[in-house]
Symmetry: C2
Subunit: 434 residues, 2 copies
Amino acid sequence: MNIRFYNGKILRTKENHSFEISEGELWVKGNKIVYLGDGKDLDGVYQRLDEPFIIWDREIDARGYVIMPGFKNAHTHSAMTFLRSFADDMPLKDWLYNQIFPREAKLMPGDIRHLCKLGIMEYLTSGITANFDMYLNPMEIAEASAECGFRTVQTSGLNDFTRSLSLLEEDYRIVNEMSELTTFLLGFHGEYTTRRELMEGVAKLAEKLKSPVWLHNSETEKEVKECRGRYGMTPTQITEALGMYAFGGGGYHCIYFEEKDFEIFRNRGLTAVTNPSSNLKLASGTAPTARFLEEGISMAIGTDGPASNNALDMFREMFLVTGLAKVRERDAAAVPAEEVLYMATAGGARAMELSDCDSLEEGKFADLILIDLNQPNMQPENDFVKNIVYSGSKSNVALTMVNGRILYEKGEFFIGIDPKEVYAKANEIIGRMK
Amino acid sequence: MNIRFYNGKILRTKENHSFEISEGELWVKGNKIVYLGDGKDLDGVYQRLDEPFIIWDREIDARGYVIMPGFKNAHTHSAMTFLRSFADDMPLKDWLYNQIFPREAKLMPGDIRHLCKLGIMEYLTSGITANFDMYLNPMEIAEASAECGFRTVQTSGLNDFTRSLSLLEEDYRIVNEMSELTTFLLGFHGEYTTRRELMEGVAKLAEKLKSPVWLHNSETEKEVKECRGRYGMTPTQITEALGMYAFGGGGYHCIYFEEKDFEIFRNRGLTAVTNPSSNLKLASGTAPTARFLEEGISMAIGTDGPASNNALDMFREMFLVTGLAKVRERDAAAVPAEEVLYMATAGGARAMELSDCDSLEEGKFADLILIDLNQPNMQPENDFVKNIVYSGSKSNVALTMVNGRILYEKGEFFIGIDPKEVYAKANEIIGRMK
């Protein structure tokens, strides 16, 4: 499809974590952005593109909309949609062991593929164009994304009870080859669920495949304390000691960090992915976001899964990233809006190795969204970026495009399946577990 | 207008702060709910209503929707819409004295009336059917609500620099008489902006008019410390000592409370209104919500104004009320969803003396909303209340009705003014201050 957006306000990402808005056009040809500019001297543009003209499949008047890069949801477990609002308001351990694990054990082949589609739909409504997923069956997750036309990077949920090293290598190979929309980076669930030998195996595999490594890291005080009991080191320190990070990677949550942990993240160029809603809802704590930024450590934002959040909504997460940092630092100037928007877009893309769709630039994949300014929460237009981060909402997302395809527009989904079927199936899956 | 909703899931409020959902119909005649039930034995219903039949202006198939009482936004400064995203990410004092106050001083007659309409539009998109407002010109605020058909309870922003005791009594009388949609309760800005004599005057007026009294109370540590320096008492204690609470009332924010403050609130039956987004964004702190509930103190939820929040969105506030309480108490079971939804509806109504539209019951005013379940964030349907509080969003609000009139439906406003005009005017107002 060839799609021309004109009259829009285009949000460009700058190197210093800030943004610039300019009026103009954005052209999508196939799955790529081929032109971005003020729409003047179009003859010159065609010449440069080496095309006499382009036949447009759609020309979209974007007046009153900001065109911006899609959000990257840098940590989630999409298929856990079936457990949304199933078991809330209970202590973490009871939640995980008595509610979550027993239900996950009852999942049947095909369920995860289907439940991921419900997650993908919710991402699209929130302007999320790619997710960084970790769950039980990487094949089904990748199939769901490929079928919907959605972009998914995966890591492994490998631990003492799930998957194995040989499966990990197979997952890595198959998912990376399956579709241009699905990739896989090495990882495992977390130190507290994985014995040393298994972690050593992951480190070796990272060396062999030259892959970054990802894991849940320092989400709770208990996790860090127990790790210290086992190894005399924090999760960051033991994974570093095992040689995990020769090719980068990072951690999810990253709440309870000490000096040496910051140092390791900084020196290795790792990314800290923060998950504020989930950290509140499970009473885990709040991340030292301002400190990470001070250290120059790259950050990204994730929703975590729908059983612990329970929304898959980047707007809620963005507000929380800055709000929680401000109250933690007792400083209303901490972690300004621009920094948060950078995390939610380019920061996530860096973590997920999606540098080819991290921002709006000619030659990059067309993963973009339209933000409707003609709604009361986006008025007056004092500052577009601050409006998006502080008062923006899913209801402002008018269109979500992934890899050049419009998957969501004005409340409708174009992912090859009827939403009602997705909802019915999700209800059926949880229904048989009650 | 006579409007019949059928096939809906009706959310009824129970006395113990819980809710019940039942399938059925809800009839609105004029501005009141006249029937609520399973839709069987309609002959009996007509007999009871003493009507042979009702000619419906609209019959709305509510299949796939929850019909619930509208949210009550129990603390806000609606007209501050013009300052949304105008001055963020700066320390509180700099924000207030160098950015906010100088702009407020430049407001011209008519501006507040207009800026309130922008706020009202945003409330409608978030399912808010009434607001508890405090700002500079009570007449204009009340006019805006009466013109739009929106319900607004006001208190006064009286302080050493704004309004006076005689104006306060006049505001009380005029606003309470202006329209069935606008009421006024006594109040003043806060202890830290109001000298003792003025507070004593408010207390006397409360006695004379038998009105509750409202104020910003213990929002920051500094406020409480300085108050203690002046009076040897906290803001709660000095206002109690001055005899403010003979007819109830309460405080906004209520973050830094000590034992005796809780005792006063409990004994006087006062309401603590919490404003979590604003408290995060201004780095003020987090309220002791779990403690208030433990003490049996009534609570309500407010967005605060759009200059400090910056969204006027009850869904964001609801999630934060429970999320922040959970992490503050280090207990994922703290402040469950039902309790939060009660605060956001009946709790707010109690604070605002709106017992005639606090819940869905025959004879009450029809202030209600429709929540669209056929969206990914509301699926599967494991628990409607938890879905609304934990994953609900403005995008689920399909219809907002105030006093029997549909003011918002599927993205469109019916408030007697073109949204574009409201946006243009807001941009013009802030434009002339830059």
